[in-house]
């Protein structure tokens, strides 16, 4: 096999009718060119007897033996009875090896493939919903047990998760909220200036920030940061049997993994939202003073009147709900991972997409609720 690159490739010739002469290297790298020719020769051969002469074959491996077997099988299929001649004993042994089973053809797709996929999708979606609800139920029960017996709560992981999911998110949340404030003020400034109502920029920025944008932008960032991390961590633990190990050690994975994450986010998210409120209004304030000439002092005076404590509280009240949605979705999708690395990746994607979707749905429901309550 030495010098495999420079050796002559496999060839097949037909010196006279009824004889195929094989020569060269019938190895995995040598048979690339000859494969089509083998098929062509075999299918046009017809039914007369045929000799497959291997005297010129310099090297043979399992790949080559597969191709020779394919040739023989095709000849037999067309009614010819091939005879091997001139092969070395080693090569004959290898050929015998290649005679082993051909792969079964792939299963036929069902007749109504799309309808079939739709049905499977519906069932899978329904099951997932059901499993999700049962997961939430389990978590609530575990939480109940934890609250009834606070020594069961794991404070160290809670604090750790507050640090990683809360404190760690401060810079990016602050920056994004600031930019959002700038954008909102900039868009509003143009309209308000036309009516000479520049000072209402404070109402616009203040109310939209504290009621909607700050909680929402915080939730989206946290879903991308922490929600994805939870799904990936739990998913990887699931595939490496760590979750099973935990269960057999008598430790509830929900108590050990999910509860600290849930509680940590529920604590951290409102605080992050307050931070986003502040930096967002700051961004609006900077924009108001540069493009509308509303001074910082005027802005502050107006802010107290424009943004009622209710508006502020409405925004903050959403945060724990969003936090619960993110933590539960991340953990739930993580626990659903099975198999290997690609499953973990899929579940992580799903956790982020579903968390953001559910957060926005929840936000819409909040809007309806608050308008019914005249808040």
């Amino acid at each position: 096999m030495a010098g495999w690159k420079t050796q002559p490739a496999a060839t097949i010739a037909q010196p006279e009718p009824g004889t195929f002469a094989l020569s060269g290297n019938w190895t995995v790298y040598g048979i690339g060119r000859v494969e089509k020719r083998v098929d062509a020769l075999a299918s046009t051969h017809g039914t007369q007897a045929v000799v497959v002469d291997g005297a010129g074959v310099a090297a043979l491996d399992t790949a080559g033996s597969c191709l020779v077997q394919q040739l023989l099988a095709q000849l037999r299929k067309f009614g010819a009875n091939p005879e091997l001649r001139g092969w070395k004993q080693d090569f004959l042994d290898l050929l015998e090896l290649g005679e082993r089973p051909a792969p079964q053809p792939a299963a036929k797709p069902p007749r109504f493939a799309r309808l079939d996929a739709l049905g499977h999708g519906m069932v899978a979606g329904g099951l997932q919903l059901f499993e999700g609800l049962s997961f939430v139920g389990d978590v609530v029960l575990t939480l109940g047990r934890g609250l009834a017996q606070p020594s069961r709560l794991r404070f160290r992981p809670i604090l750790y998760n507050i640090q990683s999911g809360g404190t760690g998110a401060l810079p990016i949340v602050g920056l994004l909220a600031f930019l959002l404030g700038v954008v909102v003020a900039y868009q509003g400034a143009d309209q308000l200036r036309r009516y000479g109502a520049s000072i209402f920029i404070v109402d616009l920025v203040g109310i939209s920030m504290v009621r909607e944008f700050a909680p929402l932008v915080t939730a989206i960032i946290v879903a991308g940061r922490s929600g994805a991390a939870y799904a990936a961590q739990i998913g990887a633990m699931k595939t490496s049997e760590e979750i099973d190990a935990m269960r057999t050690l008598g430790i509830s994975p929900l108590e050990m993994l999910t509860l600290p994450k849930l509680l940590a986010l529920v604590i951290a998210m409102p605080l992050l939202t307050v931070f986003a409120d502040v930096t967002g209004i700051l961004g609006g304030m900077v924009m108001a003073s540069t493009s509308l000439g509303v001074s910082f002092a005027d802005f502050f005076d107006r802010l107290g009147l424009a943004v009622s404590p209710t508006s502020f509280m409405v925004g903050i009240a959403k945060a724990p709900v969003f936090a619960a949605i993110i933590a539960l979705t991340g953990c739930f999708q993580g626990f659903r991972a099975e198999g290997g690395a690609d499953s973990v990746g899929r579940q992580t994607t799903r956790s982020v997409v579903q968390a953001i979707f559910l957060v926005i749905v929840a936000d819409a429901l909040f809007s309806i609720l608050f308008s019914m309550l005249n808040l």
Binding site: W4, G340, A341
Partner: protein
């Protein structure tokens, strides 16, 4: 490559490996001859896996030279490295099969990547490798996560053999297998070597494998190769560290060898029986 049959396919000279302050190998020499089954043994942390990773271009030594199939792998181009990689097969300890591909696709992947064969022929070759390693045909369509430990090892071996390599590296091929499957893997490796003239380097702790198929055994320790030789030579070594390693299992293994007869068909059954006898004996 024009050397005689007894050439060394792997030659390591003065290899030194360090991870920060931690020295793994120091001035290590190691040779593997063409066509032999070379087993590498040694205590935990003696650098067996690191040795393997250096030979298969996954890690660079701090000093020394490594020749594989006549090429100096410590200073070779990316292109030459790729050529070399196509000439060996590696079976990793935990399989290293790709989770998103089924077994047949896993085996066919190197063929699809490095040859221009048709899909039909590739599937045929992959199915052949699969049956060579003793896996049922219905395992072909399964994902690696659906396989048992023994099946996983066999599938990994089939993938390592996909390109009909000249050199085969096995990292703990029998670890975690039941005795019958472990014997199956042993015999398989032996059969592959005899059929294809492979050179095999195997890292193992499995004494049965060492006694039954290894031509030579290299024992690592004290940052170098402590001793190389047949099992018989090693068990009678004058070095206390080497004797100690094989002690205990020695008597049992020697007895097993004494009883070992060439009829391979019965050998497997007998071995299983004997293992049961031994285990009951150990319990006493």
């Amino acid at each position: 490559m024009q050397q005689a049959k007894t050439e060394n396919v792997i030659e390591m000279r003065g290899v030194t490996t360090r991870f920060g302050e931690h020295v793994v190998h120091e001035n290590l020499d190691f040779d593997v001859r063409r066509g032999e089954i070379m087993a590498v043994v040694g205590g935990s942390g003696s650098g067996k896996s690191t040795l393997l990773r250096e030979i298969i271009l996954l890690q660079k030594p701090a000093a020394g030279s490594i020749h594989v199939l006549g090429e100096d792998i410590t200073k070779m181009s990316e292109e030459a490295a790729l050529d070399l990689r196509r000439r060996w097969g590696v079976m990793f300890q935990s399989g290293g099969l790709f989770g998103s591909l089924n077994v047949l696709e896993n085996i066919g992947l190197p063929l699809r990547e490095h040859t221009d064969l048709s899909d039909t022929l590739i599937d045929r070759i992959a199915a052949l490798k699969l049956s060579l390693t003793g896996l049922e045909a219905d395992a072909a369509k399964k994902l690696p996560s659906e396989l048992s430990g023994g099946m996983l090892k066999r599938a990994a071996l089939a993938r390592a053999l996909a390109l009909d390599p000249e050199l085969l590296f096995l990292d703990e091929p029998t670890a975690g297998l039941d005795p019958a499957s472990a014997d199956g893997v042993d015999q398989l490796v032996l059969q592959m070597r005899d059929t294809f003239g492979l050179t095999v380097v195997v890292i193992t702790h499995d004494l049965d494998l060492l006694w039954s198929i290894a031509d030579r055994v290299a024992m690592l320790g004290e940052h170098r190769v402590l001793a190389v030789g047949t099992m018989e030579e090693l068990t009678q070594s004058e070095l206390p560290a080497v004797r100690e390693y094989f002690e205990g299992a020695r008597t049992a293994a020697a007895r097993r060898r004494a009883e070992h007869q060439p009829e391979a068909a019965n050998a497997q059954e007998r071995k299983v029986e004997k293992r049961e006898v031994e285990s009951t004996w150990k319990q006493k």
